[in-house]
Symmetry: C2
Subunit: 223 residues, 2 copies
């Protein structure tokens, strides 16, 4: 298995790393630059993931999964996870249980929305060379934005009162839990694990988000 | 079974009517006025549903379910549905499958958000006597707000691409489907079933929302 990913798209890449590690599938990652995505996708026959706002031009997104053992190439997020479940049903857990795709997509969307206030900081991760003035400008607004994320995660935390375990569906990890973890993992990377900001984040909602990352630690690394 | 409900809270009442009808439970509705909710809740021993923003005062919401056969009184939305499932597991379908509470709460929240632009019109339903000037004022903004709802439902429609049936989880109705239907039902009541506006709504997303209401028609009425 091979993931093609631009070096800047850390968040999405981490997400698929969780998925592949959870399913105990071996893979390697090919890092490509943003302007090269379309050419590579066309070369290996990866489908475009969406149409541009003009309604005609096609848009190619990464990561793309290339499965050497079946020759399959997939480039759309939920489709990739559904493919892994279908092709490797007994390797690791099923990541999207039967009939649960719609609910998982809805929850994914809520996760993305919850972390939206921090997008400027995720964008920071894209800049390999950022001058200090820009950094100060971005970091000035951080406290306010972090309060918004805290509110959003607090709302999400209430939904967990319906769960019997630490995860969305009891104590077994699914597709949707990986989405939460990928955002937390990337946020930790941006603010720094030893920072006061991160210590604040992991104290929210009785430590729910700290526990999330701890539970997924075994699946965090490039295997 | 008895539902206490103020005469104005049509939307929420419809929601529980779907739930009770789907579960083939018999009930009658006691209509109470908004200022009388707290006194009634205290009298019958219904718990407050939330704390006021001051952090001290308690807030009592309706509907409240009073189950004569068990003596139980419940006043919080997901708790009511979970109670019905637990107490009457073999009467009608299970409305929240095991382990699905968190996902259903998240989806519920998305449904509420999707219809949020129309709140002024739901508020219209609260006014028994509204003068014409006010009505015109409200209706002027309708077209714009309806476009927002159309966009929101379009986003939600994409999540359904993951479902094998017409509902959120395949072709069986659950808690979450009733939430969608209650909003659609109430919207239809506000704009009028024969109006051009409603004909527009039911044409969206290849008729998905029209099919929703049709499927739930048998559970719509006071039984």
């Amino acid at each position: 298995m091979c993931i093609s990913s631009r070096h800047t798209s850390k968040l999405t890449r981490q997400y698929y790393r969780y998925a592949l590690n959870l399913k105990s599938l071996s893979y390697h990652t090919v890092y490509i630059k943003l302007p090269d995505v379309e050419a590579l996708a066309k070369k290996i026959g990866a489908a475009p993931t969406m149409t541009e706002p003009d309604g005609v031009s096609l848009f190619y997104m990464i990561p793309i999964i290339q499965d050497d053992s079946t020759g399959t190439i997939i480039s759309d997020s939920p489709t990739i996870v559904a493919y892994l479940d279908k092709t490797y049903p007994s390797s690791g857990p099923i990541l999207i249980p039967t009939g649960m795709m719609t609910l998982q997509l809805a929850f994914s969307s809520a996760v993305v929305d919850a972390f939206t206030p921090l997008w400027p900081f995720y964008a920071l991760g894209l800049m390999t060379k950022m001058n200090e003035v820009t950094a100060v400008y971005f970091l000035k607004g951080f406290k306010k934005l972090l309060i918004q994320v805290k509110e959003n995660l607090g709302k999400m935390n209430k939904w967990f009162e319906g769960s019997d375990g630490n995860f969305v569906i009891g104590n077994e990890p699914y597709f949707i839990d990986m989405a939460i973890c990928a955002f937390l993992w990337f946020t930790r990377g941006v603010v720094g694990e030893e920072s006061e900001k991160w210590k604040d984040v992991v104290s929210w909602n009785a430590g729910r988000w700290r526990r999330y990352l701890e539970s997924f630690k075994p699946y965090e690394k490039l295997l």
